[in-house]
């Protein structure tokens, strides 16, 4: 494991620019606000009121005792796996509109599991950057698309061809957010559910442990490589209204932004990459303020610093 010694030194006054402060507050308040059915945590039940009509943007399990809304990924799988129902246009429309508006800013600003990974990564240990192993990193980046196709679409859908009910495969066998925010709190409090926990709970507990442990050393490993919801929002990143803009005339090619990026995006070359979660870390460390993140007019210029060999000066 390579020690993360290359992170740019940020002067104290610049450590938390306004946008970063806003993001941290927004993340915390959004997750608390949308999971504020406190009675559920004490009774071991879930909220069943009218707000469950609405989807939440992030990977927020609807079986979380505090959750006021529905997870779009769970809802999508649910509709796909039901032979008596067509795929939910409502959820697809929601994902399309949210993706068009903010893209993967959802991951950076509103996802509870993203918040947990951010917190864990603050633990001061040597950090590991998988992007230094380029082939491994590039292969792993494709994993979330494979999981989207297989666990969210094909496996839930196939049994419905013969009129049988499918299952919510991603939620059931992989989603660590569901284990953390729904499984553990419910089983801790609900005496009737606890005896039912078997091998599946152990499996999901093991996956959760792996993702949480990795989060300490790798920045957002689940978001980078596994999350199908991030994959869906990533499709919209290039056109979303909330975006990253780079003023190439002001850019000095120092590479600070790329080294700081938690998602290993080469910011000046591909500021609106499908991996970008709009966290604004790049803008915070830019010494010339050449990077802006937000809504507003498009002022992007094609990258000028790429020579024939592909050498960019924005090394990772």
């Amino acid at each position: 494991m390579a020690k993360d010694t290359e992170k740019p030194k940020i002067p104290f006054k610049q450590r938390l620019p306004l946008q970063q402060k806003q993001r941290k507050w927004f993340q915390g308040l959004f997750v608390l606000g949308t999971n504020s059915y406190l009675a559920g945590f004490f009774k071991g039940t879930i909220y069943q009121g009218p707000l469950k009509n609405a989807c939440l943007p992030g990977l927020n399990c609807y079986s979380c005792p505090g959750s006021l809304g529905s997870c779009p990924l769970g809802a999508l799988q649910g509709s796909i796996s039901n032979p008596n129902q067509q795929i939910s246009f409502y959820v697809l429309g929601f994902l399309t509109l949210v993706g068009g508006l903010v893209g993967r800013a959802v991951c950076g600003w509103a996802c509870p599991f993203g918040l947990v990974q951010d917190w864990l990564h603050k633990i001061p240990t040597p950090k590991w950057k998988p992007e230094h192993k380029e082939l491994l990193h590039k292969l792993l980046l494709q994993l979330k698309y494979l999981l989207l196709l297989l666990f969210v679409v094909l496996l839930p859908f196939l049994p419905t061809v013969t009129g049988q009910y499918g299952d919510v495969y991603f939620c059931k066998y992989i989603c660590p957010s569901g284990t953390l925010f729904a499984g553990i709190p419910l089983l801790s409090v609900n005496d009737q559910l606890r005896p039912l926990a078997g091998w599946l709970f152990s499996w999901k507990g093991l996956l959760l442990f792996i993702f949480l442990s990795l989060s300490v050393q790798i920045s957002r490993p689940f978001c980078r490589y596994v999350c199908p919801l991030g994959a869906i929002y990533g499709f919209f990143n290039r056109i979303s209204l909330y975006r990253v803009r780079v003023d190439h005339a002001a850019c000095t090619s120092c590479g600070n932004c790329t080294r700081q990026c938690p998602m290993a995006v080469t910011v000046p070359l591909d500021p609106n990459s499908a991996e970008c979660i709009r966290c604004g870390e790049c803008a915070a460390v830019c010494p010339t303020h050449a990077i802006k993140v937000g809504f507003g007019p498009l002022k992007e210029v094609e990258m000028k610093h790429v020579d024939q060999s592909g050498e960019t000066g924005f090394g990772q």
Binding site: I46, Y47, Q48, P50, K52, N53, C55, C61, Y62, S63, G69, S70, G74, A75, G78, S79, Q85, Q86, S88, F89, Y90, V91, L92, G93, F94, T96, L97, G99, G100, D167, V168, C171, K172, C175, G178, T179, A182, G183, L186, L187, L193, L196, A197, G198, L200, F201, W203, K204, G205, F236, I239, L241, L298
Partner: protein, 45 residues
């Protein structure tokens, strides 16, 4: 296709899908599902 055109297409598609889903009753179906405990999600199955 220009960025503006792509955005118009995406937002139009999103609005049509959302409105179509609401009219078709997808919201009620979502509410029915989301108010039941998802045993698989919590690791019981």
């Amino acid at each position: 296709m220009s960025l503006l055109t792509q955005r118009i297409v995406v937002f139009a598609l999103g609005v049509i899908l959302l409105a179509g889903g609401i009219l078709r009753g997808d919201v009620l179906e979502l509410w029915r599902r989301a108010t039941q405990l998802c045993l698989g999600c919590i690791g019981i199955g």
